[in-house]
């Protein structure tokens, strides 16, 4: 019967995202349900009745999933800030590219250091590329929005 309870909770959470908080919720729900089941059967309630009582005592899990998910998955303020941060980084990278080109002119024409002109150029381009890669790795507002969609599909099997 404990397997049945576990299966029921798994079904309730099947559409939830696989986050740490949801896993903790699964564990705590399960432990609460098993405590109740054992307590009821120990006091003489039949396994079937105890199971029914445990299931009906769970309540509205969908609401909880929605609350837990919205914190982790979508926060308009955070997404907006990330979008802006990314724009600043890309802007900085483009500036570095121009700086690189300008440094060639400065070194070559103004300072007359033909042989060294390539050095600041590659340094600037290198930092620019690194900045773009960093921006794409850490700032991903798109992903945040994608995850929102499938969460609150309702499934209420009993």
């Amino acid at each position: 019967m404990t397997e049945k309870i576990k299966a029921h909770i798994d079904r309730l959470l099947q559409d939830a995202p696989k986050t740490r908080r949801i896993e903790e919720m699964r564990e705590e729900l399960l432990s609460g349900c098993l405590d109740k089941y054992e307590d009821l059967t120990a006091s003489g309630v039949s396994p079937e009745e105890a199971f029914a009582s445990v299931i009906s005592g769970i309540g509205d899990v969908d609401e909880l999933i929605k609350n837990l998910s919205s914190e982790n998955v979508f926060d308009p303020g955070k997404a907006e800030k990330q979008r802006r941060d990314k724009a600043v980084m890309i802007g900085g990278a483009i500036m570095l590219f121009f700086l690189g080109l300008m440094s060639i002119i400065v070194f070559d024409e103004v300072l007359g250091l033909e042989n060294l002109a390539i050095l600041p150029f590659f340094t600037c381009v290198g930092f620019g590329v690194a900045l773009i890669i960093f921006a794409n790795m850490t700032q991903q507002p798109v992903k945040y929005e994608k995850k929102r969609i499938p969460l609150w599909k309702k499934s209420k099997p009993t």
Partner: protein, 111 residues
Amino acid sequence: MSIASDLIRGNTDMIILAHLSRRDSYGYEINKMIQQASGQRLELKEATLYGAFRRLEEAGSILFYWGDEQTGARRRYYRITSAGRAALEQSMRDWTEAKEIIDSLIGGKTE
């Protein structure tokens, strides 16, 4: 649960804190205490209880630690913090005040 559930739902956090102020406990035990103390008239849903724990944790009113159960799923035990005790006292004052106001408005006893 036939009694005014909305009124009670608004006070779930206070009820849980009140139980935790006596001793550390875990979900089912708290619910069982609530059941007994209410003369079997109130039993919280697992989801309600869980939501309240998360709220209280975020507010810094409670902390959790894992129990050392040998069998079955491990339990999350909760402990009230000093901020939690302050919050409990405040909500008990609020409750008493609200009760007195409502009682006096509907003609019940206030003293």
